[in-house]
């Protein structure tokens, strides 16, 4: 087995046993990237020299007995996460040459623990999309079928982990942008409870929904990555101190667990082959003693509308900062207003412009009550319906994505079809709940996802169930297309 094929946990063991060195482990991944990324296109920037320095520092930490759970482990970051002196583009022309003068909290915590940042991964511009086709630079390919999308918006991070260019990667999940690509690429993707992980240095898209989460090839590795980054941060007032019990998170018990399936996520809105794979997984869990029951949360059907009001509304405000004045692109033209318009016309792609326009519209006087206020009322009801469910169930499970990976270009002209890709994942964002996608097996050679949602700040319950579910569902792996 090659080094890049190991799990992060196994890499840690070998590093601590001095069977391998951190620079050697990094080299194995850089070689892997050089060999497969020309097909997959997961990375916008590979930070080879910087990563090698970090690997050398990691090795020193190991030699001095100061290794932590991520020391020496190569990780990839979605390119909307600020990295000091390393270009951070958000896959947008407006930030194409932006080099941040500071570290985000994620980078800071990773480097404090001597993780090794191999590079920055591709995304839909400013994380707006479900296919990574809205990157201003190039689309990323699905490692299981190179003519298909990896999902999005964190498609680069999902594809990097699936194709073993890094054992761990981080993405951001606003409406499903970690879980949906994890599902389409057959890896684990986790969105923590809103408020668990600092957003300082995560380029803001929809501040009341954005949350950073890990990708991994096993639940255990994803849990390790989460444990390394969560916790309060004085620079993000929405990031809070809440208890978390790592021991309880590692139990892995399924027998006797009460599991709810929302009917609305088993409707025709989800493809039949995806539902069949999901049913198969549920049957296996039931055979191992899980107590499975369907329930109804009717507000789920309004999730996509709610999301596409709230997210563009906040985005239209958050993206006002790209004005050609302090950083990023500037197109010189006449007055300062003309300069801003020319800069934004040239710097933003169509999808971003469209969302800014939608957001500006729903916030306009005369429309505010009809859209924005209503969306926040639906949010109240959606949260209530899930809260009630968590009174009866330990976890709620559902398919992660309504479809398997679709072909590149197939949905670009259909704005609704692309947006409906988030149908199953949006409820957890609207309610702020933690949610994970694990591989649920394959339909026609393409991965499907099994989503597990728990009550707010009940990560340990979710992880324990996910560990058990991963062991029991355990789909037969199929080879990558690279």
């Amino acid at each position: 087995m090659k080094l890049f094929e190991l799990s992060a946990a196994e890499m840690r063991l070998r590093l601590d046993a001095r069977e391998i060195s951190a620079p050697e482990l990094l080299r194995s991944h850089l070689d892997r990237i050089a060999s497969v990324d020309p097909q997959v296109h997961a990375f916008i920037t590979v930070s080879e020299d910087r990563a090698m320095e970090q690997a050398e520092r990691a090795q020193e930490a190991i030699d001095h007995g100061q290794a932590g759970p991520l020391t020496g482990i190569p990780v990839a970051l979605k390119d909307n996460m600020v990295t000091r002196n390393l270009r951070t583009t958000c896959a947008s022309k407006i930030l194409e040459n932006y080099v941040p003068p500071y570290s985000g909290t994620l980078e800071e915590r990773l480097l404090d623990q001597f993780a090794v940042i191999v590079g920055k991964t591709n995304l839909d511009e400013f994380a707006m999309g479900t296919s990574t086709e809205h990157s201003a630079f190039f689309p990323t390919r699905n490692p299981y079928a190179l003519d298909r999308v990896p999902g999005g918006s964190s498609g680069g991070s999902a594809a990097a982990v699936a194709s073993k260019m890094a054992p761990l990667a981080f993405g951001s999940d606003t409406g499903g942008s970690v879980r949906q690509p994890a599902s389409l690429c057959g890896v684990v993707g986790f969105k923590p409870t809103y408020g668990r992980v600092s957003r300082y240095g995560l380029v803001a898209f929809c501040s009341s929904l954005d949350q950073i989460g890990p990708f991994a090839r096993s639940v255990r590795d994803a849990v390790t990555a989460f444990e390394a980054i969560f916790g309060p941060d004085p620079r993000d007032s929405t990031c809070v101190e809440m208890p978390y019990n790592a021991k309880r998170a590692s139990i892995g018990e399924i027998s006797g667990k009460r599991v709810g399936i929302p009917k609305e996520l088993m409707s025709d809105a989800v493809d039949a082959d995806v539902r069949a794979a999901f049913r198969g997984a549920v049957d296996k869990l039931a055979a191992h003693g899980a107590i499975v029951e369907e329930f109804s949360a009717p507000m789920i059907e309004h999730g996509v509308s709610t999301y596409y009001i709230i997210a563009p509304a906040e985005a239209s405000s958050n993206l006002a900062r790209y004005d050609g004045v302090r950083y990023g692109l500037r197109i010189e033209e006449g007055s300062h207003i003309d300069m801003m318009k020319a800069t934004r016309a040239e710097g933003f792609g169509r999808e971003v412009k469209e969302r800014i326009i939608i957001g500006t519209h729903v916030l306009s006087s005369g429309y505010y009550d009809a859209y924005y206020a209503k969306a926040h009322k639906v949010r109240t009801l959606m949260k209530q319906q899930f809260r009630e469910a968590f009174g009866r169930f330990d976890v709620v499970v559902a398919p992660t994505s309504p479809t398997t990976a679709f072909k590149l270009g197939e949905r670009l002209d259909d704005p609704l079809a692309l947006k409906l890709a988030d149908y199953c994942t949006i409820p957890a964002n609207i309610g702020g709940f933690p949610a994970m996608s694990i591989n649920c097996g394959f339909a026609d050679g393409l991965p499907t996802g099994f989503q597990i949602v728990a009550d707010s700040f009940a990560e340990e319950k979710l992880f324990s169930f996910a560990l058990g579910a991963e062991r029991i569902i355990s789909p037969e792996p199929i080879p990558l297309a690279i």
């Binding site: 080099v99 003068p101 500071y102 809103y194 408020g195 009341s208 929904l209 309060p232 004085p234 620079r235 007032s237 929405t238 809070v240 059907e301 309004h302 509308s305 596409y308 009001i309 239209s316 004005d323 050609g324 302090r326 950083y327 990023g328 500037r330 006449g334 007055s335 300062h336 300069m339 801003m340 318009k341 020319a342 934004r344 933003f348 169509r350 412009k353 469209e354 800014i356 326009i357 939608i358 500006t360 519209h361 306009s364 009809a370 859209y371 209503k374 969306a375 009322k377 639906v378 949010r379 109240t380 009801l381 949260k383 704005p415 609704l416 947006k419 964002n429 309610g431 702020g432 707010s456």
Partner: protein, 100 residues
């Protein structure tokens, strides 16, 4: 009762673009007008819900008032911040004339 939303006109779209400091090409106007009207049609389902008695939840987590201690600390170095600026003069951001 579901009713169709009043479609966004070209003039309204131009006004929105102006508010958002965007300039759109002819092609963008026509694509966006049809996309936007499709999306607004989808939103119309919300209008059928009875939400009169429901409170707003602008934020998903019911924790508020997390303040850090207020103490002085060093910010970023001026030259580091200005290094990424499109135009700089005498240690300041330079912009086109705003007041004649």
């Amino acid at each position: 009762m579901l009713k169709s939303p009043v479609p966004i006109t070209r003039e309204e779209l131009e006004h929105l673009a102006d508010l958002a400091r965007l300039r759109l090409s002819e092609e963008e106007y026509s694509v966006m007008q049809s996309d936007l009207n499709r999306v607004l049609e989808h939103f119309e389902r919300l209008q059928a819900l009875d939400l009169a008695e429901v409170a707003l939840t602008p934020h998903s987590v019911d924790v508020a008032g997390i303040w850090r201690e207020d103490f002085p600390m060093r910010g970023l170095e001026r030259e580091d911040v200005l290094a990424g600026a499109p135009d700089v003069q005498a240690g300041l951001f330079l912009v086109p004339t705003i007041i004649e």
